[in-house]
């Protein structure tokens, strides 16, 4: 059964693509989350409206539709993307819209009194945000960000529908070539789970590191 080891290699290649997608998607999602999350809290109507439109649109239409659009429709209007780019774009924008609400909620969860202390100390808007509000809010966001990252990891499985050779896709290939269903799917379930555990472990240890000395602060 030398064959299996070869196909395992194929699946591991898929795992690599999945990890790549998850990482790049997370970075994009993080950027979008802060842009749109802070946008929703802006004083300027235009920014608020833009952020709200982005969030509602990407949360409202299914990730599948976004993926198909990025892959099939954008090229028709002249925006040529590699499958990887299309995948990262759709996943990052989609998860970013959810995470934006996390950013907004976390910033708002920092009590009004912290904002007022900033005013009383004459800190500027940006100074207060940068030194007082965001450091505290980030700690509130972290656990939910961890969940979002796991959501993103799982959502990468749908990119197999646009022929990106991720874990799920490779499992399909192995299945077609070997005629065995159980083995490839059980293997990738375990791999996904290990990746998810890694994410939540990483986020939790980051959280512990950042929360040092803050006992009693967390809401």
């Amino acid at each position: 059964m030398t064959q299996w080891s070869g196909y395992l290699g194929l699946i591991l290649q898929g795992a690599l693509v999945t990890i790549e997608l998850t990482l790049m998607g997370s970075v994009l999602a993080l950027i979008m989350a802060f842009l749109a999350g802070m946008g929703r809290l802006s004083r300027f109507f235009v920014l608020r409206a833009l952020a709200t439109a982005y969030i509602e649109f990407f949360r409202g239409t299914s990730i599948f539709v976004q993926l198909f659009f990025a892959y099939f429709v954008l090229p028709l209007i002249g925006l040529e993307l590699t499958p990887l780019q299309a995948g990262v774009l759709a996943l990052g924008l989609n998860v970013g819209a959810y995470a934006a609400e996390v950013v907004r909620g976390a910033v708002q969860s920092i009590g009004r009194e912290q904002h007022e202390a900033c005013i009383a100390l004459n800190l500027g808007r940006w100074q207060g945000l940068r030194h007082v509000i965001l450091p505290q809010a980030f700690l509130v966001m972290l656990p939910t960000f961890g969940n979002n990252a796991i959501e993103l990891l799982k959502a990468t499985s749908v990119v197999s529908l646009i022929s990106l050779a991720d874990l799920t896709f490779q499992a399909q290939v192995v299945r077609a070539q070997t005629g065995n269903t159980m083995v490839p799917f059980a293997t990738i379930l375990v791999i996904y789970f290990v990746l998810a555990l890694l994410i939540s472990w990483g986020v939790r240890s980051l959280e512990r590191r950042m929360a040092r000395g803050l006992d009693g602060v967390r809401v």
Partner: protein, 260 residues
Amino acid sequence: PGSADDSKLEQLKGQGFARVAIANEPPYTAVAADGKVSGAAPDVAREIFKRLGVADIVASISEYGAMIPGLQAGRFDVVTAGLFMKPERCAAVAYSEPVLCDAEAMLVKKGNPKGFKSYEDVAKDTSATIGAPGGGTEEKLALNAGVPRERVIVVPDGQSGLKMVQDGRIDAYSLPVLSINDLMKKANDPNLEVIAPVQGAPVYCDGAAFKKGDEALRDAFDVELVKMKKSGEFAKIIEPYGFSAAAAMSTTRDKLCAAK
């Protein structure tokens, strides 16, 4: 004439590879344990592009349904996936001369309990369901034979179709003969039976499918294809996979695209 078209080939030569869409369906396509893509269709394409001066092909596996839109969207330069020539498709893409020919087959339970011989038989039995790839030839044949939409189950891939027949979820699963044979070989299940060829279903041939507008590239491809057919190299490539070179040489694109 068509200098814009010529540039496509030049461009491919320049980048050193052509992007090819293939299906996840042996023996049209095969992926070895080391990840190397082979199979009848990609092997032919690889050889011809080499002769055209394009060093290699980069194959990406795609769903059938995504192939033509992907081609139109510029995701691939060519589709070599057992995408059979039919008038509607000929209108959507630019085909090369025929490459791989195959008749249709059905996978059923041992003894063919419902006695299917043709798609019309499936249509007549009001309790019968048939599986086929979404957007594939078999789906259209079944629908045209009068099987109502809700009895034509869209099955994502061959293994799923095989499994669904084994589990009794569908009464028949239809694919080209060689694909079904390959599935049978892997499954090695004595409780299954192949009906081939399906009566009344034409023998279809696929060709390499190019984007409309890339006719110059297609023509260049055809020139090499015809040469290979004549020299017998063509047969050497495809016959180990079970395809008949004679069948492909006995017909032409024009005939197939005009067929009703």
